[in-house]
């Protein structure tokens, strides 16, 4: 669907007083299990990213140009599709693999678990780490275009390390794998490719993506030490088992 049209419709809907839905979305983006104090201090735990132009940045640079070479291919199109801009789009991608539609309406418990966990990983994880390093993204560094050019303007100035998309994709993959273990292989493969798409797209260096995966794993572990997370996880498992079609 055309992005301009989508934005137009959303604005219209908000303007005509279904403010409840907008407030809902805003509220969903601020649910949490952890606090700053209870989160792993990943801005300091993760290794520093390779400095631009240094010897250990050579592979990052190589991978960017490998991605650029893929323009016009199916993998480029997939990278564009996976360059999601909303949680709902991420859920849509993973729904195809999971076999049930993940949404607030259809799977409220799974939705709640995914949202709060991802909110933790982003607010207390990637956002803080991005502010520490403020690293330039590859497309901006090389002055090239990405697989989704309309998003470039807002991302030109920094925040490359680590990748928020990859943190979200890995978190969702791990959580859904725990809920639906029989789908683990496909879910984790999707999560992996979802991260690689950021590199192919040109929005992230390979090291941004690798360390976002590690960061997500750290958060995933600490979340398991949280009572509310554990209780919501049990509800999500129950919800999946009641909705799945194959025995």
């Amino acid at each position: 669907m055309n992005r301009m049209l989508l934005w137009g419709v959303t604005l219209l809907v908000c303007a005509f007083g279904t403010a409840a839905r907008c407030a809902d979305d805003k509220q969903d983006l601020s649910t949490h299990y952890l606090t700053l104090q209870g989160s792993p201090a990943v801005a300091w735990l993760l290794p520093a990213p390779p400095s631009l132009g240094s010897p250990d940045a050579a592979y990052d640079e190589f991978m960017f140009f490998e991605g650029q070479k893929m323009q016009g291919t199916k993998r480029w199109d997939l990278a564009r599709e996976q360059a999601t801009e909303t949680p709902q789009e991420v859920h849509q991608l993973f729904s195809k693999v999971l076999g049930i539609t993940i949404s607030k309406q259809n799977t409220p418990d799974i939705y709640k678990l995914l949202m709060a966990s991802c909110n933790d990983a982003i607010k207390y994880g990637t956002s803080i780490t991005k502010r520490r390093y403020y690293k330039r993204r590859p497309f901006a560094y090389f002055d090239k275009h990405t697989c989704r050019p309309e998003e470039e303007a807002s991302r030109r100035n920094g925040g490359s390390y680590p990748s928020g998309h990859t943190a979200v994709g890995t978190t969702v993959g791990l959580l859904l794998s725990e809920i639906a273990p029989e789908k683990r292989n496909e879910l984790m493969s999707l999560a992996y490719e979802f991260g690689q798409s950021r590199v192919i797209c040109g929005y992230h260096w390979q090291s941004d993506v690798d360390n976002a995966r590690l960061m997500a794993i750290y958060f995933y572990s600490v979340l398991h030490g949280n009572k509310d997370f554990i209780s919501d996880l049990a509800k999500a498992k129950k919800e999946y088992n009641s909705k799945k079609t194959t025995p």
């Binding site: 792993p40 735990l45 010897p55 250990d56 050579a58 791990l174 600490v222």
Partner: protein, 247 residues
Amino acid sequence: MKKYLLIAFGFMLAAGSLNVAFGQKLHFLTEADAPDVNVVIPPPPENGSEAAKRDEFYYYEGQKMRDTARWRVAIYDAVKGNNHHNLLTSFEHPFGLMINPEDTPQLFKLIRGALNDVETYGTSVLKKQYKRYRPFVYLKQSGKTCEPQKELAYSVTYSYPSAHSARGMLTALILAEINPQRSNLILERGYEYGRSRVICGFHWQSDVENSRLLAGVIYSALHGNNAFLKQLKKAKDEFKSLYESKK
């Protein structure tokens, strides 16, 4: 008849506790619920590739640390010892307890089984699949590792991925869940334990990085396993009683 049954029962009990003490066969996962690591873990870099060049860069960075304090930590981390002695001892400050079969039997059993799982269903499978040579072998750097006396034995085992690193990271993920308040130090120790392998010259950087990913995947799989969850509860209760009393 009764006498023989009693003796047999006694023998089984002894064998059971021996099993815990030596832990050779203690597992939580089975073939049925283990992930297919060939699908979810990427292959190692090909010889001569840009990624392999990156690996070489990190090998020589490790060599630069020869005879530093960090080199000596790497030597300590390289030694397995009985019951993963060096690994578990290194978590004493980060976790806040010394984990061993005598003082913390439940925690020890939990870790022991999980580490057997990550090897049997993880590192062993991948090592056999890829048969990658270790850096000191491939680069013809014999005598340059942190444990030259072990090089002969290591030269016939495979590099990708690193079993030490997978064990170190998985231990950290489990302990961080049990004591989330100290997750920073716990996760850092797990990370550094893996880095020691690169410094030592026994593993490539990519061996260690993907071991951490493997640890995350196995950690996720364990949380879908009832035997693990049962033991986790026992370990958490043990932790509560020991840790609270020593605080």
